[in-house]
C-alpha cells in the first residue's frame, strides 16, 4: 500500500522525543487556557456578582450514562494516542492492517489519510491526542444545552474522520466481516452516541429513545448473528485444510501480541480451544447474538424493561467475553488506539435499557423551563459593579453565572482547538516536516573546516571550481547519472528544496559531482538532468571530469565509489555537504532517501532547504 509505510522506525528516538516535546508544549498551552478561563470566570464573578442558579434539574439517567461513558472512551482513546511510537507507527501498524483486504477505493482513501499523517507525523499525532482528550472532557462537562450539542457534534464529526481514514470504515467492505473482530468499527458507535446526544432533552424524557436504541441494537445483533452463521466464511471450522479457521486465526494472532502473561495464557488457551472446537464456539456466538438481538427487539417493541435488563446482562457478558478472549481488550499488542467495539456496544444497549424507563428530570416547578435551560440557569446577582454596555452585558453575566462544569467545557473546547489547529495546518501544507528525514538519516553532523577545492566540468561544458562559487551557500552531493534507485530521488529532493528556498535560492548553488567511475561523460549528466527535471534549474550544477579528477574529489570528501560486478549498480555513499558562502563546510548530511515515498522525499527536501537557509542566515 504505497504511502502508508513512511519507512520510519516508529521507535526512532528523534521521532519519539519530538512527539513528547510537542505534547508537552501543547499541554502547557492547554494548562494556560484552563488557567486563563478560570481566572476570567473568577474575576467576572467577582466583578459582576455571578451566582449559579440552583436549578432543580436532573439530567435523564440514560443520557448521563451515554454522555459520561463515551466521554470517558474518548479520553481513553486520546491517552492511547499518546503512546510514544504513535507518530511514526500509526500508518504502518494501524492504518495499513485496518485497510488490508478492503476494496481499492477504501485503500486509496486510507492511503490519503496516511499520507497526510506521514507528511506531518508529529503534528498529526499530537493533534489526535488533544482532539480526542478535548472531546472526551467536553462530553463529560457539558451537561445540557448548546454546549452538549456542540460536544456531541464534535464527537460525530471526529468519529467519522477516524472511522473512515483510521479504521477503513471498520473493515465493513472487507471479507471476513464479523462483530466478534470489531465490526462495524468501534468509532462508528461513538458517532451513533454523538448523534443520540444531539437529540432534544425532551426526547430522553420519554421511552422512545430507549426503544430506538434497543431496537437498533436488536436489529444489529440479529444481522451479525446471520453473518456469523453464514456458511463458507470459515467461522464454523477450527481449522480449514490444515490452516486455522477465521476465528482461530484471529485469536491466535491476538495471543501472539505483547501483553500481560496472564492474558496471553488465557487468549492462547481459548485459541487452542477454538481450533479444536470451532463449530461449538461459533454456535455459541451465533446463538448468543441471535438471542440478544431477538430479546432487544422484543423488549423494544413491548417496552419491556425486565426483558431488556435480562438481555442487556446476557449480551454484556457475551460482549465482555469476546472483548477479552477474541479482541484481547482491543488495545493490547502493537499500537492500539481504542478498546474496539465491545465496550461501546455494551454502553449503547445499556443506555437503551435505561431509556426505557425515564425518570423525572426536574422538580415540578422547573419542568416548565424550556429545552435549553443552560441560559435560564444563570441568575446573576447585582453587586453594584459598573454597568456594562448592553451588547456585552448578557454574555458577561451568563459567563459569570455559569457553573464550573460549563467553564470546564469551554476550556475543553480550547483543548480541541489546540489539537485541531496544527492538524488543519498539516492538511493544507504540502511541504513535509523535516523530522521524518532527520529520523531516517540521523541528525546532521556539524562541521567547521574549509571545504576542499576542486575544478570540474559542468553539464554545460564549462570549467567550474568550488572556489568560484564563493559568496553562495553550496549544497554539494554526489550522484550517479545511471543510478536506478537513490540518486534520481535525491536529485528530485534537491530540486524541490530549491523551490522551497524561493527567492533565497539566488544565494545558493546546488552542486552534484558524478559518482560513477564508468559513466562520466557530459552526455550522461545532461540525460540525468533531463530525467529529473533539473535541466531548467538555474542554480544547479552537475559536475564531471576524468576518472582521476573525480577520484580525487571523492577521496577528499570521503566518498567511496566503486563499480560492482555482474550487472550491479555502482556503489557510493549518499552524503551531502552544506558549504558556507565563505567556503567552510558547515554540515554533513546523510541524504540516503530511505523508502523514497512522497512524504519522505518532501521531508528530505525540507531538511535540505532548512540546512541551506540556516547557512545563509549565518552568513548574513
Amino acid at each position: 500500500m504505497p504511502g502508508m509505510n513512511s519507512g520510519l522506525n516508529p521507535a526512532s528516538p528523534i521521532l519519539v522525543a519530538a512527539f513528547r516535546s510537542a505534547l508537552l508544549h501543547q499541554a502547557l498551552i492547554i494548562a494556560l487556557i484552563f488557567f486563563l478561563v478560570l481566572i476570567a470566570w473568577g474575576a467576572t464573578r467577582t466583578a459582576v456578582g455571578g451566582q449559579s442558579a440552583v436549578a432543580a434539574w436532573r439530567e435523564p439517567r440514560a443520557r448521563r450514562v451515554l454522555r459520561i461513558g463515551f466521554g470517558a472512551l474518548w479520553l481513553v482513546d486520546g491517552i492511547l494516542q499518546a503512546q510514544p511510537q504513535m507518530a511514526g507507527g500509526l500508518p504502518s501498524q494501524v492504518l495499513q492492517p485496518a485497510a488490508g483486504g478492503s476494496p481499492s477505493w477504501v485503500v486509496s482513501l486510507v492511503n490519503f489519510g496516511a499520507n497526510v499523517w506521514n507528511y506531518h507525523p508529529i503534528a498529526a499525532a499530537a493533534s489526535s491526542v488533544w482532539i480526542q482528550v478535548g472531546i472526551g472532557l467536553w462530553l463529560i462537562f457539558a451537561v445540557r444545552g448548546w454546549s452538549l450539542r456542540l460536544a456531541a457534534l464534535s464527537s460525530v464529526a471526529w468519529g467519522l474522520v477516524v472511522w473512515s481514514f483510521g479504521e477503513a470504515f471498520g473493515a465493513i467492505f472487507a471479507p471476513g466481516l464479523t462483530v466478534l473482530f470489531g465490526a462495524p468499527g468501534g468509532v462508528l458507535l461513538y458517532v451513533v452516541a454523538g448523534a443520540l446526544l444531539m437529540l432534544p432533552q425532551r426526547s430522553w424524557e420519554r421511552p422512545a429513545v430507549g426503544r430506538l436504541i434497543l431496537g437498533g441494537s436488536g436489529v444489529f445483533f440479529l444481522g451479525m448473528a446471520l453473518l456469523q452463521a453464514w456458511p463458507g466464511r470459515g467461522f464454523w471450522q477450527g481449522t480449514v485444510g490444515g490452516q486455522p479457521g477465521s476465528l482461530t486465526a484471529m485469536v491466535k494472532s491476538m495471543a501472539g501480541t505483547p501483553q500481560p502473561h496472564v492474558l496471553e495464557v488465557i487468549v492462547a488457551r481459548f485459541g487452542s480451544f477454538t481450533e479444536s472446537h470451532g463449530f461449538a464456539v461459533n454456535l455459541v456466538a451465533v446463538i448468543a447474538l441471535a438471542a440478544a438481538g431477538a430479546a432487544f427487539c422484543v423488549s423494544a417493541a413491548r417496552s419491556d424493561a425486565r426483558l431488556a435488563r435480562i438481555a442487556v446482562t446476557v449480551a454484556a457478558v457475551f460482549c465482555l467475553a469476546d472483548w477479552v478472549l477474541v479482541e484481547d481488550l482491543g488495545f493490547l499488542g502493537g499500537l492500539g488506539t481504542d478498546p474496539n467495539n465491545m465496550i461501546p456496544l455494551i454502553l449503547l444497549f445499556t443506555v437503551g435499557c435505561l431509556g426505557l424507563t425515564p425518570q423525572p428530570t426536574a422538580e415540578p416547578a422547573a419542568v416548565a423551563v424550556a429545552d435549553e435551560p443552560e441560559a435560564a440557569a444563570v441568575a446573576p446577582a447585582s453587586t453594584g459593579a459598573p454597568p456594562l454596555p448592553g451588547w456585552l452585558s448578557g454574555p458577561v453575566r451568563a459567563f459569570a453565572g455559569a457553573p464550573l462544569r460549563v467553564i470546564a467545557g469551554i476550556a475543553a473546547l480550547g483543548v480541541i482547538i489546540v489539537g485541531a489547529a496544527p492538524m488543519a495546518f498539516a492538511t493544507v501544507n504540502k511541504t513535509a516536516d523535516p523530522i521524518t528525514a532527520e529520523a531516517i538519516a540521523g541528525t546532521n553532523g556539524q562541521l567547521d573546516t574549509p571545504a576542499p577545492n576542486f575544478t570540474l566540468t559542468s553539464q554545460y561544458g564549462r570549467q567550474v571550481s568550488l572556489a568560484s562559487l564563493r559568496g553562495k551557500v553550496v549544497l554539494l552531493t554526489f550522484l550517479d547519472p545511471v543510478c536506478t534507485t537513490d540518486c534520481p530521488v535525491i536529485a528530485a529532493e534537491m530540486r524541490v528544496a530549491d523551490e522551497i528556498l524561493g527567492s533565497k535560492a539566488r544565494d545558493a548553488e546546488l552542486v552534484a559531482v558524478v559518482a560513477n567511475p564508468t559513466y562520466t561523460s557530459l552526455a550522461y549528466t545532461r540525460a540525468f538532468d533531463l530525467q529529473v527535471g533539473l535541466n531548467t534549474v538555474p542554480n544547479w550544477l552537475y559536475l564531471t571530469g576524468s576518472v582521476s579528477q573525480l577520484a580525487s574529489v571523492w577521496h577528499r570528501y570521503g566518498i567511496e565509489v566503486e563499480d560492482l560486478p555482474a550487472g550491479a549498480m555502482a556503489a557510493h555513499n549518499d552524503i551531502a555537504f552544506v558549504i558556507s558562502a565563505k567556503g567552510e563546510e558547515q554540515q554533513e548530511i546523510s541524504d540516503d532517501p530511505g523508502p523514497g515515498t512522497d512524504a519522505t522525499q518532501s521531508s528530505f527536501s525540507s531538511m535540505l532547504a532548512d540546512s541551506v537557509l540556516q547557512s545563509i542566515g549565518q552568513n548574513q
Binding site: V482, Y519, E560, A568, A571
Partner: protein
C-alpha cells in the same frame, strides 16, 4: 553487513546502502553458489537430466536471452538469479574453449541487456532502464570485454527485443519501447529520430502492412541502409522495411510468410504454417529460406551461431519447450534436432571447434554443457560462479 565510514570517521552512520548490500550479497551469493553446486547434475557418462521446463528463468527474460557470433568471438546474454534478474554478458573468444564473464560495469542491468555486434570483434550493449532510470545507457567493447567505454545514452528505454539494437562501424540504430527508431552516425554520441511510431505505416510502402510494430533493426550491406522488422497490424505477419536517405521506406518481400521470431544482422527466423524457417539476406532485398522445421510450439529463445568460415553466413539455434532444441548451420543446410538440452538451459552457442555449447543458469551459477558433433550426450564443460550483488538494486 558492513558500513563505510565517512572521511572524518566521526559518523558511523555515513554509509552506502549499495556497498553494504553488496557485502551482504557476497555472503548470500556464496550461499547461492553452494546450493547451485550441490543441485547441479553430476558430470557422468549418462549425461545431464533433460530440461523439463522452459529454458529461461523468467518470462520477460526469454526474448532477450540470446547469443551473437562475430568472426572471432561468441557472446552470450543471459539472465541470472531472479526477482530481480541480473543480466550477464559472457564471451568465448575464438581461441578459447572456455567462457568468461564480461558484463559491462557501472550500471544496474535488471531491465535487461540488448546487444549488437559488428563484423569486427566488438560488442555494443544497450542497458534497458529499470526502476527510476528513464533512459538507456550504452556501453561498447572492442577488446572482447576486457574494457568497456560508454557511448551516448539513448533518450528512452530500448524495446524488449533481442534485435532492438544494430551496429555497423560508427552507425548505431535502436528501436525504443514505443516503436520509435533512433539512429546515430557517431557511435551514439548524438541521436536522431529515423521513424516515429506510425511513420512506416503511413508511407506508401507500409500501407498494406498497416500499423507496423517494429521490434528489430539492422543495417544493410550499405551502412546507411537501415532495415526495420516487425509485425504488421493488418495481418500479423512479418513485415520488413528498408530505409535509405534517397528512397525513404521500401517494403522488402520475404520468401515465406509468417510470424517474425527473430531478426538480426543478415538473418531472420519466421514461423510459417509449415514450421520454423530460417532466412539469410544475400543483400537487403534478397533473402534465402531454409526448409521449414516442422514444429508448432513457441520458441523460448533463439540466437546466432558462427559460420563455417569467418566470411560465411552464420547459423541459428532455437530452444523450444520441453528441452527441445534445433540448429541450422547456414544457407542450404537442414535443421538439426538436438538431444534434450540440460536443465535450465538459457541459450545455445557455438562451442570450440565444431562443438555446440548449452549455457544453463541456476541461481548465480552458469554451467556450460558441450555437445560434440555426432554425439548424443551433453557433457559438463565449465562452471562459472557469478558474483551477483543481490540487494544492490533495491
Amino acid at each position: 553487513m558492513t558500513t563505510t565510514t565517512g572521511r572524518r570517521g566521526s559518523r558511523g552512520r555515513v554509509r552506502s546502502s549499495a556497498l553494504a548490500a553488496a557485502a551482504a550479497a557476497i555472503a548470500s551469493g556464496a550461499a547461492l553458489a553452494g546450493c547451485g553446486s550441490s543441485a547441479s547434475p553430476p558430470s557422468s557418462a549418462a549425461g545431464p537430466p533433460a530440461s523439463s521446463a522452459p529454458a529461461a528463468s523468467s518470462a520477460p527474460a526469454v526474448s532477450l536471452a540470446t547469443t551473437l557470433s562475430t568472426a572471432t568471438d561468441s557472446w552470450a546474454i543471459v539472465p541470472m538469479s531472479a526477482n530481480p534478474a541480473f543480466w550477464e554478458v559472457f564471451i568465448r573468444p575464438a581461441k578459447s574453449a572456455t567462457w568468461q564473464l564480461v558484463t559491462p560495469p557501472g550500471v544496474a542491468d535488471n531491465g535487461g541487456l540488448v546487444a549488437a555486434t559488428d563484423t569486427e570483434s566488438g560488442l555494443t550493449v544497450a542497458v534497458r532502464p529499470s526502476q527510476d532510470l528513464d533512459f538507456t545507457p550504452v556501453a561498447s567493447t572492442a577488446d572482447a570485454g576486457a574494457s568497456w567505454s560508454t557511448d551516448g545514452p539513448i533518450s528512452d528505454g530500448v524495446a524488449a527485443s533481442a534485435g532492438a539494437l544494430a551496429v555497423s562501424g560508427r552507425q548505431v540504430a535502436a528501436v525504443l519501447g514505443n516503436g520509435t527508431i533512433e539512429a546515430s552516425s557517431n557511435a551514439g554520441n548524438t541521436w536522431g529520430t529515423l521513424a516515429r511510431p506510425g511513420t512506416i505505416a503511413a508511407s506508401a510502402a507500409g500501407q498494406k502492412c498497416g500499423t507496423l510494430q517494429v521490434a528489430s533493426v539492422s543495417f544493410g550491406p550499405i551502412p546507411s541502409q537501415v532495415l526495420a522488422a516487425g509485425e504488421c497490424g493488418a495481418t500479423g505477419t512479418a513485415g520488413l522495411f528498408a530505409y535509405s536517405a534517397g528512397d525513404g521506406w521500401q517494403r522488402v518481400s520475404l520468401p515465406v510468410s509468417g510470424q517474425l521470431v527473430r531478426f538480426g544482422a543478415g538473418t531472420a527466423l519466421v514461423r510459417a504454417k509449415a514450421g520454423l524457417t530460417a532466412l539469410w539476406g544475400d543483400d537487403a532485398l534478397h533473402w534465402t529460406a531454409s526448409a521449414p522445421l516442422p514444429v508448432t510450439s513457441a520458441v523460448t529463445a533463439s540466437g546466432g551461431l558462427a559460420g563455417a568460415t569467418a566470411t560465411s553466413a552464420g547459423g541459428m539455434w532455437v530452444l523450444l519447450p520441453g528441452g527441445q532444441a534445433a540448429t541450422i548451420g547456414g544457407p542450404g543446410q537442414q535443421w538439426l534436432l538436438l538431444p534434450p538440452t540440460p536443465a535450465h538451459t538459457s541459450v545455445l552457442a557455438s562451442g570450440p571447434g565444431t562443438a555446440l555449447d548449452a549455457l544453463a543458469v541456476s541461481g548465480s551459477t552458469l554451467t556450460v554443457w558441450q555437445l560434440d558433433r555426432g554425439s548424443t550426450v551433453w557433457a559438463k564443460a565449465q562452471t562459472i560462479s557469478v558474483p551477483i550483488q543481490l540487494g544492490s538494486s533495491s
